[in-house]
C-alpha cells in the first residue's frame, strides 16, 4: 500500500495531521531514530515528507518509505562529490543535464530517506541505475518515492 498526498502552503505538521485523518488517526505520537527520521509510535504505518517551494508531499505506506520532491536543478560540484561513475556518465551523455541530474538526485534522496539515515548514509554508496525507483515530473518539479525492497 502506498498513498501520496500533495498540499500547498501547509506546515509539515498540518500536512501530516491532514493525511493521517484518511486512516482515521486523530491522535498520534512521533518517535525518532538516531538520524532524526520520524515514525508513528505503535502504528503499522510508515510515512515520509518532502517539500520544496510551497509544495509539500507526504507518502504513507505499510512499508518503510522515502520520498523526495525537488525543483529541476543542476549542481556540477555535487556530481563530482556524490554521484557514482555510472551516474556521472548518464549526466555527461545527457542532452538535458539538469533533467538527468534532478532525476538521479531525487532517487538518491528518496532511497537514503527510506533507509532512515538521510545524507549520513553516504550518497555515493547509492547507485541509482541499480534501483527500481520511478520519477514523476510536473512542470519543473520532480518526485521520487522509494519503498523498502525497491
Amino acid at each position: 500500500m502506498l498513498d501520496i498526498y500533495t498540499y500547498e502552503n501547509l506546515s509539515s505538521q498540518e500536512a501530516l495531521e491532514k493525511s493521517l485523518k484518511n486512516y482515521h488517526i486523530d491522535k498520534y505520537e512521533l518517535i525518532y531514530n538516531e538520524y532524526g527520521k520520524p515514525f508513528l509510535k505503535d502504528r503499522d504505518l510508515f510515512f515520509n515528507i518532502s517539500h520544496t517551494k510551497n509544495t509539500i508531499v507526504i507518502a504513507i505506506s505499510d512499508k518503510e518509505v522515502g520520498i523526495d520532491l525537488q525543483v529541476k536543478s543542476y549542481r556540477p560540484r555535487v556530481i563530482d562529490k556524490y554521484f557514482t561513475p555510472s551516474e556521472q556518465t548518464l549526466v555527461d551523455n545527457s542532452l538535458d543535464k539538469a533533467d538527468t541530474f534532478t532525476k538521479i538526485w531525487v532517487k538518491k534522496e528518496a532511497y537514503v530517506k527510506m533507509i532512515g539515515q538521510g545524507l549520513s548514509y553516504g550518497l555515493k554508496k547509492v547507485d541509482t541505475p541499480l534501483l527500481n525507483i520511478k520519477v514523476s515530473k510536473k512542470d519543473d518539479l520532480y518526485l521520487a518515492v522509494c519503498l523498502k525492497d525497491s
Binding site: Y35, G36, T52, D68, Q70, S73, R75, R77, V78, D80, K81, Y82, W105, E109, G118, L119, S120, Y121, G122, L123, K124
Partner: protein, 74 residues
C-alpha cells in the same frame, strides 16, 4: 572562518549576507533543502581543501555549527 562560511552560504543559496547569522538554522531559518546542504558542503570542501565526510553533515544544524566544525577540523 566566519566571514568565509557566510560568503559561501550566500553565494550558494542567494541569501543576502546580512541575513545569515551564526544562530540561523540551515533548514528552518535559511530554508535550505538537502541539495543546498550538499552543494554547500562541496563548496566548503573546495574552499578549505579538506574532505567533509557524509556522516558529519548531521552536525550542521546552524551556521555556527558549520563554522565551529571547520575551525575544529581545519
Amino acid at each position: 572562518m566566519k566571514d568565509k562560511v557566510i560568503t559561501i552560504i550566500s553565494s550558494t543559496t542567494g541569501i543576502a549576507k546580512e541575513n545569515i547569522t551564526e544562530n540561523a538554522n540551515l533548514l528552518t531559518d535559511l530554508e535550505l533543502e538537502s541539495l543546498d546542504v550538499v552543494t554547500l558542503v562541496a563548496e566548503l570542501e573546495k574552499e578549505v581543501g579538506k574532505e567533509i565526510p557524509d556522516k558529519d553533515i548531521k552536525e550542521f544544524q546552524t551556521v555556527g555549527d558549520v563554522i565551529k566544525y571547520l575551525e575544529d577540523n581545519a
